[in-house]
């Protein structure tokens, strides 16, 4: 099997799942689709490492994480500017339906990136704490701490009558 066929099969098997996970990181479906699409393009451009990976899905998840990270770094800055009133979001780009899922995506976006990654990998990607730790390169205890902090913050953010403290977006383990 040539490299392109391998990437094509992986694209068919994992694309949707990876987009779902990355959408939890970046909080936007279209952006998640684009990030995962970019990740597959990078893999196809240099497939050698991918072909030798023991776990193709894990390898691709990390590739997508790398792409997403560059984006939510910019997005985090953008979000801070929005909250400070220095940037106005066009009405068309704000979800008009206040569904629970949009609320959860929005709440995820309020977590600090390291906390958000741990929560998404554990709860959306269904990775164990050990797998999350291996993926992020941090101790399992750190992952547990981030998960505990993330769950507590999400519960607060999802409460209808609670004001979201901006500070969560600035601290992480």
């Amino acid at each position: 099997m040539d490299a392109e066929d391998a990437v094509r099969q992986a694209y068919e098997a994992y694309y949707r799942r990876l987009v779902t996970q990355v959408s939890g990181l970046v909080g936007d479906l279209a952006e998640a689709e684009d990030a995962v699409h970019e990740a597959f393009a990078r893999v196809l451009a240099s497939p050698r490492s991918f072909l030798h990976a023991d776990d193709a899905e894990r390898w691709l998840r990390v590739a997508a994480l790398n792409v997403a990270r560059t984006r939510y770094r910019r997005r985090w800055l953008f979000d801070r500017l929005v909250r400070s009133g220095r940037v106005e979001i066009a009405p068309g780009s704000v979800p008009g339906v206040s569904g629970d899922r949009v609320a959860l995506l929005a709440a995820l976006r309020r977590l600090a990136p390291p906390t958000r990654e741990a929560v998404v990998l554990h709860h959306l990607a269904d990775l164990s704490v050990a797998e999350v730790a291996a993926t992020l390169g941090v101790p399992a205890g750190t992952v547990k701490a981030r998960l505990a902090r993330g769950r507590a913050a999400l519960a607060r953010f999802l409460s209808d009558d609670e004001t979201v403290p901006l500070a969560e977006g600035l601290k992480h383990a």
């Binding site: 799942r17 699409h37 893999v43 990390v62 790398n66 560059t70 519960a155």
Partner: protein, 412 residues
Amino acid sequence: MREPDFERLRSEVGDAVRQPDFFTVRRRARQVRRRRAVTSGAVFLATVLAATSFGYAVRSGPADGGPVGSAASPTDGWPRMSAVTGTGDELYTLMESCENCRAQLYASADDGASWQRRTEPPAAKNSSGMSTVTSLAPGVVVWRDARTVTGAEMVGQTLFDHLSITTDGGRSWRRSAVDTSPVAAVPAGTQPVTCEFLEIKTCVYAAVDPVTGRFAPLARQPVGIKVPDASPFTINMPQDGPLWVSGMDPTTHKPAVATSPDRGQTWRTHVFTDAATISFGKEQQAVAWPLLPQVAAGPGGTAYVRTSRNQTEQDTHYTADGGLTWHGGDTIHDARMHGAFVAADGRPIVRTDTGFLAGDSTGRYTPVPVSGYPETPTQQAQLISPHRYLAAAENGPYLSEDGRTWRQVPLP
């Protein structure tokens, strides 16, 4: 305080995900290679910037950095064919003249010897620029414009893509519509579609009225079979044969094939109990596509099915009586299969990593020469009329009268 419901988030977002054709990945990969070539002289500077800007990095995977400016020429790779489809003597192709140009529709009634320009439907609002066409009957073509959706649309579960349909070969278009009243059978001369194709969740299969261009769900859906979303090969219906759909047993997750001898009015399902269980992954979202059964349907009630033991061991099965009785064929080792079809001589042809195999009436598969088939097809061979097979590669469509000898079709 409310608890976050990740399971529903996974489910709803997973349903909303749109997956572009693989050719778009290939196109983007070319741009990535060009970017890397242009920026290779600035690696040292980039490394220093990366080391000082990024607080942490992931392990056990690629260390590819963020995007850099594209150096791709706007004309490199264009004009190009982005899609091809056909039924009977008709071929339809979408041609893009530049990267951001809307696709243009061409039709041919003489195997591509000449092409006629046809009209396109109005562009969808927020179109992503990715369009495809699917022929369902002579003169009946569906045009799909993939749209960029907002978060509100994602949650509202509105239609994500814009579907238009023509019943006069692309001379006029209307917005596709789905009736709520079901139809008893797939109209003669038409191909059924998955309801997922229409982005409706209340049925599994639907049919098109070739006169009005309206869709309607089949009154009787296949039973005892679960058809995973977005499966790339769920329907197979030769013009003079039964309707075949592939999926899995909803309880055991074993591969299953459902057959309808009367265009969807009655169904029978067979489960391949010896095959590998089709895994879903821990979060029950993405099915392992390569483990789904693939059907190559021939004339009458003949069909050949491939099931997988694992990624490189494939079992073959065949039936000659419309799925009433099944027989086991060869197990093919150390090869991945990339599509199958039944050639004009009635033998199933399977494309593998290393070449083509042809089956015989006893289920034995042996290497067979197939000439002129594209090396890297973007679209596997399919039968579009009793004696016309269509495949495609980046450089254009390929046609064959017997499935064994192929020729490239000139582009418009």
